[in-house]
């Protein structure tokens, strides 16, 4: 697997994690139950944080690979 493929895979993972976070957030907004809010707080938000870190890392790696950074 090339570095470019790996970065593409990581970015797709970031999109997936964000989508999962988004669904959890929508559940909290539509049908708020204590369990839904607890899951959103302790699972959804860390997933989003992981997605942002992956996005930042993949983008930096891509910019470095293209000698833009």
């Amino acid at each position: 697997m090339t570095g470019r493929d790996a970065r593409g895979g990581l970015l797709r993972l970031a999109i997936l994690l964000t989508a999962i976070f988004d669904v959890m957030a929508l559940v909290v907004l539509v049908r708020n139950r204590p369990i839904a809010f607890a899951i959103f707080m302790f699972l959804g938000q860390p997933l989003f944080l992981a997605a942002v870190i992956i996005l930042g890392g993949a983008m930096l790696a891509d910019l470095r690979a293209k000698d833009l950074l």
């Binding site: 470019r4 970065r7 593409g8 970015l11 797709r12 970031a14 999109i15 964000t18 989508a19 976070f21 988004d22 669904v23 957030a25 929508l26 909290v28 907004l29 539509v30 049908r31 708020n32 139950r33 204590p34 369990i35 839904a36 809010f37 607890a38 959103f40 707080m41 938000q45 989003f48 997605a51 942002v52 996005l55 993949a58 983008m59 891509d62």
Partner: protein, 234 residues
């Protein structure tokens, strides 16, 4: 989710004004635009659904053309910016909603206590406060949390413990209060009231004991809720 709940959520999404007007017969002030919580919910839903579309677009573009500058822009918006708004609105709405009676009553072990609040014949302290709107909203939370920042934090931590015990079924019936009920929670509202201070039922000699909590308000004003065995067996 029932059709009615889905319709209510969609109504909230489309118009916080319409949702608020439909659910309440009490006249609303001129120029009513809904509550902050309703707007947070409506905008949060709008941002959340928009974000799902943005994520789908980013996914498709990434697959088709790789990591181009345009795709970077889509990713920044779909993974970095819009979810931040969604996170803020969901968190704020969730935190606000988690203090409502409906939220407390969503665990079935709480159902008898919530039913008692709505029971027109009930004379328990909690029902009296609820039915007469001595507390405007968040009735369970107001009486079961201390005031101030630490009160909110400890109430939220306790709530998390309740969720854990309920989800893992590691609770015992009948449900009992974790710690003796503190007078300070009553005195937050009643302590400075002239009606409280000048009541013949509150002799001046007992006032220091009431303030210090050595004499519980519930000795005379209980029970706060239906008897525990009755509540648990319902």
């Amino acid at each position: 989710m029932s059709g009615r709940e889905l319709a209510a959520a969609l109504l909230t999404l489309l118009s916080p004004l319409a949702a608020s007007a439909a659910e309440d017969t009490v006249p609303l002030p001129h120029g009513w635009l809904g509550t902050t919580s309703q707007w947070l919910q409506g905008l949060g839903l709008a941002f959340g659904l928009t974000n799902l579309v943005l994520l789908a677009i980013a996914w498709r573009n990434l697959r088709q053309s790789g990591l181009t500058p345009t795709v970077r822009g889509w990713l920044l918006v779909a993974v970095g910016l819009v979810p931040l708004m969604v996170a803020f609105m969901s968190f704020a709405h969730g935190l606000e909603s988690s203090a409502t009676v409906a939220s407390c009553g969503s665990c079935h072990v709480m159902t008898p206590f919530v039913e008692d609040l709505h029971d027109p014949k009930s004379v328990t302290l909690a029902a009296t406060h609820f039915k007469n709107r001595y507390i405007q909203e968040k009735h369970c939370y107001e009486c079961h949390s201390d005031y101030g920042l630490t009160g909110t934090l400890s109430a939220k931590l306790a709530g998390l413990g309740h969720v854990w015990r309920y989800t893992t079924a590691s609770y015992t019936l009948p449900i009992t209060i974790a710690h003796p009920y503190s007078n300070t929670r009553c005195l937050e509202c009643h302590g400075a009231s002239q009606k409280f201070r000048n009541s013949p039922g509150h002799p001046k000699g007992e006032m220091p004991n009431l303030m210090a909590g050595t004499l519980s308000c519930l000795v005379c004003h209980g029970p706060a809720h239906p008897p525990q065995t009755q509540a648990a067996s319902q």
